[in-house]
Symmetry: C2
């Protein structure tokens, strides 16, 4: 709640766009808290922050957790922020209990996960894992022409370290951003993987004409065809249930005047599936729908794929650790797939990774009314503590003393 005051919006949300003054203030607050908790801080060249709690065996790669502090323009208090603060809570709890681990523990704050100000989304974790090239990302600019490089320098988070270092395991706690856990009355989601995504831009070209004098049978109405595509996208996704999604989120009608037949519509399609085969079939069905609609309506449809992420299963062993931890604590749980991409999806390409979902109210996120129950957030922290301890290993008493003295 204290962090949520930074960039707080009048309607109860948070606006903390990546690498703005608000994001910097949020980062500074986290760094201060992490230092208070005995962590050392490193920042890499893409601005990712790593708060490290030393382990008894410095040769071991750290067990990492984390998420992001940037938000959507009308974002909530929990998306991303919860995962970072859950890591901090793990460290504080270990401190409180005087427990030291064999492997070091790291809390990562990934730069620009949301992508609201700079593309690509999930920028920091993508650079860390080599999915994106640092030099290409640093020259990306926002709407005002400010580059990532300049924005990092301006907020004081252009670090020295080359991005990327060994990680033993990565866990990310996150609100579900969907209604499934709440609907089933479960508290913990053991996330088995993330849906693959294919994003499209479509342009539907007809002919604008006056709505009064133009008989129905001679019209080339781009919106009528666009509407059939919206319906078709919905049908395609339903036919590939349960782990498929199809959404038209954006529609732009030209000239968008009540008494003019629309001559052009731009729209997007967002397809998601847990299998590459599913994405391929949905793609083929969309292509077919476009072909079927073009000729009889004298309409041109340009379909362009703009994003393609394959489905990303998480590490089976770590997912099992999450299930076991929830069971041991006695929390109602279920397996779940992540419909959204997260930094963990990038991490999963390089290191064993898993995620822990907790419910959010009405499944709503990317919204100022995003909310979550304290007891659910606490439950997620407890599971995170358990799995991190399992992976990092508890140090023997005599080791613990020397680590504590070193810190």
């Amino acid at each position: 709640m204290q962090l949520a005051r930074i960039g707080a919006t009048p309607r109860g949300g948070v606006c903390r766009l990546a690498l703005t003054a608000e994001d910097a203030a949020g980062r500074d607050q986290f760094v201060a808290w992490a230092r208070e908790a005995g962590c050392t801080i490193e920042v890499d060249r893409i601005g990712n922050i790593f708060a490290r709690r030393a382990g008894a065996d410095p040769a071991r790669a750290p067990v990492m957790t984390g998420s992001h502090l940037d938000t959507q323009p009308t974002g909530g208090k929990f998306d991303g922020n919860y995962g970072v603060l859950a890591g901090l809570e793990v460290v504080r709890t270990l401190n409180d209990l005087g427990i030291y681990t064999q492997a070091p523990i790291e809390i990562a704050v990934w730069t620009n996960e949301e992508g609201s100000r700079f593309v690509p989304v999930m920028m920091g974790s993508g650079v860390f894992t080599g999915v994106f090239a640092l030099d290409e990302v640093l020259v990306q600019v926002d709407r005002d022409g400010i580059s990532v490089r300049d924005a990092l320098a301006a907020v004081g988070y252009a670090g020295e370290h080359a991005p990327g270092h060994p990680v033993a395991a990565y866990f990310e706690a996150h609100i579900e951003q969907g209604p499934v856990l709440e609907h089933h009355g479960d508290v913990i989601g053991a996330v088995t993987g993330a849906l693959g995504q294919t994003w499209y831009d479509l342009e539907i070209m007809g002919m604008e004409a006056h709505a009064g004098p133009t008989p129905m049978e001679t019209r080339r109405d781009a919106l009528v065809v666009a509407s059939r595509l919206v319906a078709r996208v919905n049908e395609i996704a339903l036919a590939h249930a349960p782990n498929a999604r199809g959404t038209v989120g954006f529609v732009d009608v030209f000239p968008n005047s009540r008494n003019v037949i629309p001559g052009r519509v731009r729209m997007t399609v967002d397809f998601r599936s847990d299998s590459e085969e599913g994405l391929r079939r949905m793609d083929a069905e969309l292509q077919q729908a476009c072909r079927d609609l073009e000729r009889p309506n004298e309409i041109g449809i340009a379909l362009k794929t703009v994003v393609n992420f394959p489905p990303r299963p998480f590490d089976a062993g770590l997912v099992d650790r999450v299930r076991e931890a929830a069971r041991a604590i006695g929390l109602p749980q279920r397996d779940i797939v992540s419909g959204a991409a997260h930094d963990a999806v990038h991490l999963a390409q390089q290191v064993p990774a898993a995620m822990i979902f907790v419910p959010c109210r009405d499944g709503i996120s990317h919204n100022e009314i995003e909310d979550a129950q304290p007891e659910h957030l606490e439950a997620g922290c407890n599971v995170l503590l358990e799995v991190m301890l399992q992976e990092a290993g508890i140090a023997l008493a005599e080791q613990a003393v020397s680590v504590a003295e070193g810190a």
Copy 2:
């Protein structure tokens, strides 16, 4: 072509919004030409201009023709302007031939037909015929808060005369703004009447949610429902063919982001029919479609009627005059209904009225590429001359001399 230079756009169209400096320049040009042609000018309090050519019998009400000089923001050269200049051409031709009429002839320039800057549309003719109250119309404001009253004063067309005076008959020549004449190879449309119109505003309320984590079956996607309504509007109009139209021209999606399920859609519906019964049935079918979609989709639909014009048949006798004139001249013609409203629709409530349509290229109007063939425009002028002469009556030679001397 000379008038079209005033407010000319780079793409060959005209932008001469009502009561702007461009509109004023267009009006000034018309007034200058009308005075050159021997007309006297009167302006009424809503800015309608009446250019009057005296008749042999000053006691007779004038035979009137006219249209408008204002355009859409990306309008063409002919919509409205043709009807005004056709009237001027009739006067010039009568002058050239030394013909005088029994009844006076008037050319009307109606204020703000397009409604692009101020509502209501067809403002000047509506005030002239008492459909709109002058005082209510004068206080309407544009986007910048400028009132009709102030705009009239600024351009020097706030006349003294109370709107409305006797008219013996009204003819309006206009481009068809549709493809029917061109399609059939006809040159003259004898317009039997104008379609009635019902315009609606709809708001479709669902729940926005993240496109990834939200399963298909729990969605309340406002755009999926809006798309079904677009399809339904199209089906309803097709079912009431041939003299019915149904158009969704405007769609606004919220939040309109590619990975967010739309939570709210605002859209319009424009229904037209040549019968009141047709409009009533289309209305009932739309209401039913909304009710059918609300419950199963957990969606709220607010449907509001914002405009309702009944179908308006033109005067059977005058329509017959148009047919006869075209036949006498030997022009291919057909009966046609006007899908659009025109100033003639207001006039028809008070005086015998009719319209003469000529083809426009590809049926396109409200567009900078709007075009028409000189020989078709000339044909329309010849029909207009013929029907106005019929209604006004040719003065005897001795009467003509005295009128000419008076002028």
